[in-house]
Symmetry: C2
Subunit: 410 residues, 2 copies
């Protein structure tokens, strides 16, 4: 029954209230039993029963719920550094894709990667992420597209869940692009997803979510609708890559199919934003992808002003965001998407948890929730996200166990 | 006479040729005697005399010249996290300045800071910087403005130069803003700079450069000209904050006064760019400041296409760039300013060295130059700057001495 004491600023990040309300407690303490939080409050009110427990001193620092990374393409073969150079010199994402680069290149590299290669590469990224205070990570398939490779990726996620401490959420994203072997038969590929892949993934319990990429060059509205509705019929909750490069009424579709989240949203329509609010679809903003693609970032203010919950994520992937630094994405959410630091923090904790339907277990520091938290070398969330450092995280705990302690903070 | 061997990609960053020409050597080795490089070349050509020397194995990684950080406001009191939040919620830099925030707030905090406070805070930043591979740092005054505090800041830089390994370049920036006590007497403040401060700073050898901030709300063209010409008469080489928030023909002025560098340049005119090329003024781009201020970044392509040398820096300061992560600034220079990774690397090494007039001593890996270098956990510059990590630097050497070795790379 350890107790974390001397917490200068504890951001509980409880889900109720506005996006900016962190329900913070100054001079706080946090106690847990086994893997669950048993008490949170001002240290001066710490119940007597905890006074003889072993304590960990937070040094007056900021303590936050473990960060929830709710949108990554974690497992992939190879990298695409050459495309980064091409984009910097003026080539567009679409031009590169048409020339055989982009997602299709990673598909070729991922199909060639063995399970153990994918596993070790993903594991090393998860290890780096937990050093940043990240305790839950969603990972999508979608770089295999054929049966064998998609299942391999999802099996990698299951094995990671069992063999390392970061909590893993799996999403089947067969509808990432139409693979080359189905180029002349789009309908055949959608049928393959709906009739073969979704049933298999669901039956084997390999994913919690089904996602689709609604975009020119990827999938159309009706294709996405069919895929997500089929997924839902098999128990896979819907998510949607929506309105990233153009407005295709993705936000509206996400609301119509009851998606848990709609992600990207740079070009979402006003009607779509209203539909998301009514259907309580979480908006997942990915400012690193906007940055790497040289596009204007999504405007968080109009979403928040419309009472849509806004989550923040890196979109970690080898093309448009080869960057797993979630605190950097949060800082960019402030600079580029116009969120306040408090809003960005709630966006990377409780609302990110809602974006992966885990808001009952993680994402806030409340009695009964998982003892997932991070100690950050900062006075408060403003100080942390403003004063960017390579890594300001001092320690990370998952389920009450220490999974990272910094030797020094830089 | 140690030898660094097994270098997968050695970017010499020699100054000749185009900005993108790194004069790289694959499978290279690097030898030094005392603090100077004595040999650079393909490992297969390593002269026999080095074969019995102690070796350090670079593990097939990228080796670069120590990074040169050519534009920072290193020593300051306090922070301004509150303004970051205000800006994220929509307040402009100018509105915040008019309400008593901005540079003036830091001036108040810096005047209250003791020399030892400034020293320890700056020292901790330099320590973090050298872990990122940075080996030379320029620091400006300009948060004191009165005689006592400006001299205190410059003395801090001198003491840092003597007591820690990172090479320090000092710049007197009295012309940052007009301090409150001269609000009704701008001319009095310019006279104070020209008649009292510049002679004192020069006589005491406290700075190498004199800088000025040409901008609405800061100083006008003729004021900047008078200050920079006076500085030059006293041996302080000119630099200019030019065309950041509006086009005031700063690039032209920089060329006219023979400035070593013109910094920011978001709004530089075409004539200004041509004038800079003719006068060989280095353009220092500061994409982090553009990012934090929510403004379009400077376009590096038109500068490079006009044969202006482009350096990259963080602009580290407590307002518009509370961020000393130069490799992040380089990645942003690619994404936002449209430089290639190779161009960004030359911009943070040899051209940054030219921006502080040290191109004869540092900024490239050549025989006779200082043995300042960093080992980066990447295959090549593309791979490094594309695949952003909290810190990809494995080891840093200054004058042949190890000043940082990573335990682990994340």
């Amino acid at each position: 029954m350890p107790v974390l004491t001397n917490i200068g600023y504890l951001a509980t990040c409880r889900g109720n209230g506005s996006q900016s309300d962190l329900h913070e407690i100054r001079d706080a303490a946090l106690a847990w039993v086994d893997d669950q939080i048993s008490w949170v409050g001002p240290q001066s009110s710490l119940p007597l029963e905890f006074s003889t427990e072993p304590t960990i001193d937070a040094g007056g620092r900021l303590v936050i719920p473990g960060l929830v990374e709710c949108h990554t393409h974690l497992a992939f073969g190879g990298w695409r550094a050459d495309e980064f150079e091409m984009r910097s010199l003026g080539k567009s994402y679409s031009e590169i894709a048409r020339a055989g680069g982009g997602i299709r290149k990673t598909v070729r590299q991922t199909r060639q990667a063995s399970k153990s290669e994918l596993l070790e590469k993903s594991r090393s990224h998860l290890e780096a992420m937990r050093r940043l205070g990240i305790t839950t990570v969603e990972g999508k398939s979608g770089y295999g597209l054929d049966r064998e490779t998609e299942l391999r990726i999802l099996e990698v996620y299951r094995e990671l869940e069992e063999t390392q401490p970061v909590r893993i959420v799996s999403t089947y994203l067969g509808a990432h692009v139409v693979p080359d072997e189905f180029k002349a038969d789009r309908k055949g590929y959608v049928d393959f997803i709906c009739q073969e892949m979704i049933p298999t993934v669901a039956e084997r319990g390999l994913a919690d979510f089904c996602d689709a990429f609604l975009e020119e060059g990827a999938f159309g509205r009706e294709e996405c609708r069919e895929i997500l509705e089929t997924g839902r019929a098999y128990g896979l909750k819907p998510k949607l890559h929506a309105d990233q490069l153009s407005c295709l009424q993705g936000a509206e579709l996400a609301a119509e199919v009851g998606a848990v989240s709609a992600d990207h949203l740079e070009h979402a329509s006003e009607a779509g934003v209203q539909a998301m609010r009514e259907a309580d679809v979480v908006a997942v903003l990915l400012p690193l992808a906007s940055l790497y693609l040289g596009q204007p970032a999504a405007n968080a203010r109009r979403l928040i002003d419309s009472e849509v919950k806004v989550a923040v994520s890196t979109d970690f992937n080898p093309g448009s965001s080869p960057n797993f630094h979630l605190p950097l994405a949060m800082t960019l959410a402030c600079s580029l998407c116009r969120m306040s630091p408090a809003e960005a923090l709630k966006g990377a904790t409780i609302y990110a948890a809602q974006a992966v339907d885990l808001q009952g277990q993680v994402g806030s520091l409340e009695e009964g929730k998982a003892a997932d938290f991070a100690i950050i070398d900062a006075e408060d969330p403003n100080d942390w996200l403003y004063r960017f450092r390579p890594n300001a995280c001092v320690a990370t705990f998952i389920g009450g166990e220490s999974v990272f302690t910094a030797d020094e903070v830089i």
